[in-house]
Amino acid sequence: MTAEDEYAAVPIRVTVNGVSHDAVVEPRTLLVYFLREQLGLTGTHVGCDTSQCGACTVHLNGRAVKSCTILAVQADGAEIKTIEGLANGDIFHPVQEGFREKHGLQCGYCTPGIVMTAVHLLETNPHPTDEEIKHALEGNLCRCTGYVNIIESIKWAAAKMGGENVSR
């Protein structure tokens, strides 16, 4: 077997934001680079690239994960959702709306990852306490906001998703 064969690219099929993609990836391609460079979905960001900051958070089979720490080949057969897949046309997801209403972002670099984390949190725990929100956000770093408005944004979204009349 030659070295070229040994490191051969691998065919994968993934569904990203509802669209099926057949692709060929080098085994060492990280999922985040596959999404950004092969599919052009640049809403998912690379921050620390060391599994700390959470800017690369996407949903893999319904769970929030760090796409800088997953090989694209490991996603073969998976359903992936990125920040681009959250809004329904012009209608924002309530978490996106919450970040706008409660000023949950400043520079915005960490925001796609935090929004994806928050969506997963609210899918599994629709009425989190402040402590539960903080626990869920441990894997996301924001260097601008100090997190206070991020927590407010997520609580706003939880209220809206729970059918409450939320203030603007």
Binding site: E6, Y7, A8, V10, E26, P27, R28, T29, L30, D49, T50, S51, Q52, G54, T57, L60, R63, A64, V65, K66, T69, I70, L71, V73, Q74, D76, T117, H120, L121, H135, A136, E138, G139, N140
Partner: protein
């Protein structure tokens, strides 16, 4: 950051993975959730020639009761251990540990088998599983064997598993009536890894301590049994005074090294505090 180039093969059964492991020898590396291995490969601390993916094997994920044991498949993710009703009912201390590993995204991907086989001295599962007297079931082409946790972690990132073996199951004895389990840790504020942690399994019978297992993390190359603490608890009525005196001996047979975050003296002291917390919580739970 990219790992060095490598080849990738997906295994679809443990038997197939064993054949692949045999074929690739020292140049092959098993991939579970990848949350220790992939970061190490990105930093080029590890450059295996071939990754053998276990994530594609059905049946290695899940939690069930088998006789007196809770059996956890090696590919079960931390989040599933943390939220499992069976774990929370029978072994809340194990859920404590699963719920403080890394962060939510890491818990959604990292596996208990990966964590145990990696044997990071700053990991949570090795410590709590030592307190809970777990067994590790490993498979090779010649069959299965079960290793007790006390003989499993042999050194930094080193276990008693042979190179041709795959960890398939973690078996944790379900404690009898009057037992309580707990795990607490002081995490490093940046990494979330263990600075010092403690796990406890306490069984109370007619208001005195019938048996105790206490394990401490962060003080050595792997989990350390706090034997002096256990001895001090056994047979005694579990008053605060008794618990405090026992916990004070938690670092007795440990020789921690100083690092940039904590001195050896500080780690030894924190071990006594966290041993006390773990024992107190286990005793409270034993009463329920």
């Amino acid at each position: 950051m990219f790992p060095a180039s490598f080849g990738y093969v997906a295994a679809h059964s443990v038997d197939e993975a064993l054949v692949l492991l045999e074929k690739h020898g020292d140049e092959g590396k098993l991939l579970a959730g990848g949350h220790s291995l992939i970061p190490a490969m990105k930093l080029r601390l590890s450059s295996p020639r071939t990754l053998i993916d276990l994530g594609t094997i059905p049946g290695l994920r899940g939690i069930r009761v088998n006789g007196d044991n809770l059996v956890i498949g090696a590919l079960t993710i931390h989040a599933d251990v943390a939220s499992s009703d069976l774990v929370r009912k029978h072994l809340p201390g194990l859920a404590d540990a699963a719920n403080v590993i890394g962060d939510m995204q890491v818990r959604n991907r990292g596996t208990i088998g990966g964590s145990v086989a990696h044997a990071d001295p700053a990991a949570d599962f090795p410590v709590v599983l030592t307190a809970l007297n777990a067994s590790l079931v490993v498979q090779s082409s010649t069959g299965n064997r079960s290793l007790g946790v006390d003989e499993f972690f042999t050194d930094f990132f080193t276990t008693a598993m042979a190179a041709n073996e795959i960890l398939t199951e973690i078996r944790v004895p379900i404690p009898g009536p009057g037992s309580g389990t707990a795990y607490v840790k002081l995490p490093h504020p940046a990494s979330g890894y263990v600075v010092v942690s403690a796990g406890a399994l306490i069984t109370v019978s007619s208001s005195s301590c019938a048996s105790a297992r206490v394990a401490i993390g962060g003080l050595g190359s792997g989990p350390i049994r706090a034997v002096a603490t256990e001895t001090e608890l056994k047979g005694k009525s579990l008053t605060l005074q008794v618990i405090n005196a026992a916990a004070a001996k938690a670092a007795e047979n440990a020789d921690p090294t100083e690092d940039s975050y904590a001195s050896a003296e500080y780690k030894r002291h924190v071990a006594t505090v966290y041993a006390r917390k773990a024992i107190e919580t286990a005793v409270e739970r034993a009463a329920k």
